[in-house]
Symmetry: C2
Subunit: 289 residues, 2 copies
């Protein structure tokens, strides 16, 4: 075992090297000052409970206010309890839903697929975006922008959460949510309402067995992972509220972190890429103190 | 259940619509003529057996001939038998290794991280690549190129396989292989020897429990998925050889397919992206007849 561990530890060893030629992204993350971090507001955190444990979603009300309000209302009246993960499609999405018998709002939700950039602070990645005029970050979320229209939208990066819908743009009701568990399906950008991202426990979803029906839906009820309940973190006792911090994408530390992600120059790397797409920047998230 | 299935079937329904406003990628795939497909040579297919079933890797000798030759030699002398999946890091890689007690070639392998484009046919994606002068495909594999140097290399897309190594560029021996199971870690491009991709059974790897040690290594032997054996498909009885076909990335059907992936215009989509990155094109692969 000793030899085994030593040999394996060698692989991708640079990620652990203290003697790196330049600070690694991990070095920058671990040495970032408190001012570079912000705790996510408990009223923007939804805790979903399952027999595998909980996973936590950070909501993005600044991008989909009506959808986020509808989801919060459903959480607060217990609509997700008795729901389940109904679909797991490899290299695409995990999807969970409220039970069929739960009432969802009758009023259709507006297609909140993009919004004006006015009032938001956009931090661009150093290089081009393959799908839009520019890629970058707003409030810690990966975003792409249309420079002429001055609009922005959430990118479908790994872990991002959107609202399932039918063919009509206003047919999503917030009762079906999906999280990306593969390479970013950017073709969904501006076609779906992005409502947030999983900030804890995504491995409980991404490691689920894949569904065998079309689009990765499970064939039987038995295969589904139950959602035993969902609560707003702000409704939990103060001592029981999860504290999750995100590196401020407007901070100097994040600028250094993004630069390091684009130019890996530690001992392991022969040739820094000189670029990084927003989904591969992977904004640092940590448990708060 | 009926209502449940009907409701769920509505979501992302366009992928199934026969009445789409334009042919979907699936339509193009299913209607592509035989000339648009090529069977992978059995001598380029490695079948890895596990208690979860088999997964199959297509080798890319045109990009890493020495590494591929070393892997084939190890497969043929049974080096992978008794090995295991030792590492599963969420949104990154699954890594499997030969047993510690198996001998690996003493001679170091050359750093086959890129190669001249001469003699290869490169099919570019319609838009820009975030990491290189251009992205596209060669022999069905996602590739990026340096136009000035006239070199190309395999992109680290979902499902692509590379050879683990230490800090020295020639320290990989082929006895540790990793497959990408998350958003493309393109910073590894030109820093690792890409040797192929998983063409069947990747869900058996991507749905494994994530390792809890640094870099996703499993803490105990017990957590590891055993590799009970590996065989070259060409060494199996003719009747037992897997037949796997890949859409020719030089075919008119693939040009149509890639265009449809970049401009989703079926009933579900409000706004076609107008672009697609090579990793999100997802070259069609199917079981051969």
């Amino acid at each position: 075992m000793k030899h085994t561990l030593r040999r394996h530890a060698l692989l991708f060893a640079a990620l652990l090297l203290a003697t790196a030629a330049a600070p690694t992204p991990s070095d920058i993350e671990s040495s970032a000052p408190p001012a570079a971090w912000a705790a996510i507001a408990p009223d923007d955190l939804v805790v979903f409970d399952t027999p595998r444990g909980s996973f936590i979603m950070q909501l993005a009300p600044q991008f989909a206010p009506a959808h986020v309000a509808a989801i919060k209302a459903m959480v607060r009246r217990g609509a997700f309890g008795g729901g389940a993960v109904v679909r797991v499609q490899d290299n695409y999405v995990v999807q969970w839903a409220i039970p069929e018998n739960k009432v969802v709002p009758a009023a259709p939700l507006p297609p909140e697929f993009e919004r004006p950039l006015a009032g938001l602070t956009f931090t661009p990645i150093p290089g081009p975006d393959a799908y839009a005029d520019a890629g970058g970050f707003i409030d810690g979320f990966p975003v792409a922008v249309d420079k002429a229209a001055k609009t922005g939208w959430l990118q479908h990066c790994y872990g991002m959460v959107g609202v399932g819908r039918g063919n009509a743009p206003d047919s999503g009701d917030g009762g079906e949510l999906y999280a990306v568990i593969g390479h970013a399906p950017r073709h969904l950008d501006r076609n779906m309402a992005g409502v947030g991202r999983i900030v804890a426990g995504i491995e409980k979803l991404s490691s689920l067995p894949r569904g065998t029906e079309a689009l990765g839906f499970y064939k039987t009820e038995r295969e589904r992972l139950p959602i035993t309940g969902a609560r707003m973190a702000s409704d939990l006792p103060a001592g029981a509220q999860p504290r999750i911090e995100v590196m401020l994408t407007t901070s100097p530390s994040f600028a250094d972190y993004m630069k390091a992600r684009a130019n890996r120059s530690d001992a392991f790397f022969m040739r820094p890429a000189g670029a990084v797409d927003a989904c591969n920047v992977r904004v640092p998230v940590r448990a708060g103190k």
